[in-house]
């Protein structure tokens, strides 16, 4: 008699990895019980492929759904979900998809596909975000001058910073406008973009290199001082005071905390 742990390992292998041999002797049901495991295997694959297709609608619009589904069918077996909320699944799919498509005959390479599909995934996250009340200039002004550089700013959850070598923000706007996709030329052109979303509404703003370096670092939980240094590395004339005021006035900052006082994140 196998332990429960060994039984579950064998079933997991049958469902995820299609190794049904180890489970066959354990099962009863119908004339060929092991054959019925295909029901679970099929459900596993179909439900997760559907979840991924729902998570990458713009990528399907750009590439056609067939190659995305082909990639998804392989991905779900190599990268099972690691969280119970399936809407969070697929963050690593863009990297996989890009590599997968290079191995497929007849698929024309699409520049910036990975960045575009990463944006696609994040727009799903931004679509269900809500804006929470931002901090005010007065709250920022109350921070002692000597402590400002060591302060971290919490940014609205519905925010995503990305850069690309083609204007994929324009491409995404075409998708969001439900435009028919014909021949599209995307010129080589560096873009640095702040995407915001709340309750299904999106906004895209192009940033200067220094603004982008500052805001992306802030969003990545770096202190104000470190974020300003990032921006100075790009542009010596960067003005952190103006940049801070811009963040506050845009309602992007929802909390302020000293670096040393931060709780440890999960």
């Amino acid at each position: 008699m196998l332990s429960l742990a060994e039984t579950q390992q064998r079933l997991r292998d049958a469902v995820v990895s299609d190794k049904s041999g180890g489970a066959a002797d354990l099962l009863v049901g119908g004339l060929n019980a092991a054959g019925r495991l295909a029901i679970h295997r099929r459900h596993y694959e179909a439900s997760l492929v559907a979840a991924l297709m729902g998570r990458f609608p713009a990528t399907g619009w750009l590439m056609g759904t067939a190659p995305i589904e082909d990639a998804a069918r392989v991905f779900v077996h190599e990268h099972p979900p690691t969280a119970p909320c399936i809407a969070e699944y697929g963050r690593d799919f863009p990297k996989f998809l890009t590599a997968f498509l290079t191995t497929r005959p007849g698929i024309r390479p699409v520049p910036e596909l990975r960045a575009f599909s990463e944006l696609d995934w994040h727009l799903g996250r931004l679509a269900v975000a809500v804006d929470i009340p931002p901090v005010t200039r007065d709250q920022v002004a109350a921070i002692p001058a000597g402590a400002l550089a060591d302060t971290r700013l919490t940014i609205q959850l519905g925010t995503y910073y990305f850069e690309a070598a083609r204007p994929i923000d324009d491409l995404m706007k075409l998708y969001l406008a439900d435009a028919a996709l014909h021949q599209i030329e995307l010129p080589e052109m560096d873009v640095r973009v702040e995407a915001r979303g709340a309750r299904g509404v999106f906004r895209f703003a192009r940033l200067t290199p220094a603004e982008f370096a500052f805001r992306a670092a802030i969003a990545n939980a770096q202190s104000v001082g470190d974020s300003a240094q990032n921006a100075w590395n790009v542009d010596e004339s960067f003005d952190p005071g103006t940049a801070m005021a811009g963040l506050i006035d845009a309602g992007l900052v929802t909390d302020l905390s000293l670096v040393s006082a931060l709780p440890v994140r999960d």
């Binding site: 008699m1 002797d25 049901g29 004339l31 029901i39 119970p84």
Partner: protein
């Protein structure tokens, strides 16, 4: 249960994301709604709508990610997230499945079968206690839809459920469609199955659609799949009437998770459940009076 709402005996429907804005906007006449917390805990906008809804209707929380049967244990951060949702919306019932779906950090997005033996009983009972402690309320356990069983099982599913109720004080959610489907697939008598359940522990009934598929592994050449993508089938309605006769009226939920139709179609199924429940209860009352 501490909810300020009382769960009505009137039937409710499973509320999935495509319908939530419509329900909040139009406030249809409905007994109650059931939600899957996994659809909301990572969806702040959905959570806002859910909180609005919870002020208008009784809500039941039906978990699909707690996995009380997994040998690896309960995902405690997820349990805490479910508890936080429960504290926000004050549901009338909280339930989950007699199944497992997690394995060494993976979520297999399916409800996988368990062998019914002492080791599994100890495992599931321990996890049920942990879940009930973590949620601060009784947990309703749902019987699974089955396509396979285990040669090494030493007790029936009904015996297993009875033991869990005795050991943990958990409550039961009897999915009548699952009983019918599993009886057909596994070759047991669905009415005998219902007869074996402890009526006093049953707090909720489920009804959902299934799909017949060709299956050369099955004696009849057909296997019933729990798709929740179709109306409730006639044999399941008949078994539902028997369940009401056996258990008395119980809060009943119509589940429809795939190929989701217009909300009215779900509400019509709920109305049919109400009609059967009333009719069966009236007949039983007449029998008592006549007898």
């Amino acid at each position: 249960m501490s909810s300020t709402h009382r769960v009505p005996v009137r039937a409710g429907v499973g509320l999935r994301l495509p319908h939530i804005e419509e329900v909040v906007a139009t406030r249809p006449s409905a007994g109650w709604f059931e939600i899957h917390p996994e659809n909301f805990v990572a969806n702040p906008h959905g959570m806002e709508l859910l909180q609005d809804l919870a002020r208008l209707y009784p809500i039941s929380v039906h978990t699909v990610g707690l996995s009380v049967g997994s040998v690896g244990g309960i995902d405690r951060p997820h349990l805490r997230r479910v508890r936080a949702l429960i504290d926000l919306i004050d549901p009338v019932l909280v339930s989950g499945h007699l199944a497992w779906s997690t394995h060494k950090g993976e979520y297999l997005n399916d409800l996988l079968p368990l062998p019914y033996d002492r080791e599994t009983l100890d495992t599931v009972a321990g996890h049920l206690r942990e879940v009930q402690d973590g949620l601060g309320r009784p947990f309703l356990l749902e019987n699974p839809s089955s396509y396979v069983g285990f040669a090494g099982s030493t007790m029936t599913e009904v015996q297993f459920l009875n033991e869990l109720v005795d050991r943990t004080g958990c409550r039961l959610l009897c999915d009548v469609s699952n009983v019918y489907l599993s009886g057909r697939n596994m070759g047991y008598d669905a009415r005998q199955y219902l007869d074996g359940l402890p009526a006093e522990a049953i707090d909720e009934l489920h009804l959902g659609g299934f799909t017949a598929e060709d299956d050369d592994a099955t004696p009849g050449g057909e296997v019933l799949i729990d798709t929740h993508a179709t109306p409730v089938a006639e044999p399941a309605w008949a078994l539902y009437a028997y369940a009401i006769q056996r258990f008395g009226p119980r809060p009943t939920l119509i589940e429809w998770d795939n190929d989701i139709p217009a909300l009215d179609a779900l509400l019509n199924e709920a109305a049919r459940a109400d009609a059967i429940s009333h009719e069966t209860t009236d007949i039983e009352a007449h029998r008592v009076v006549a007898g």
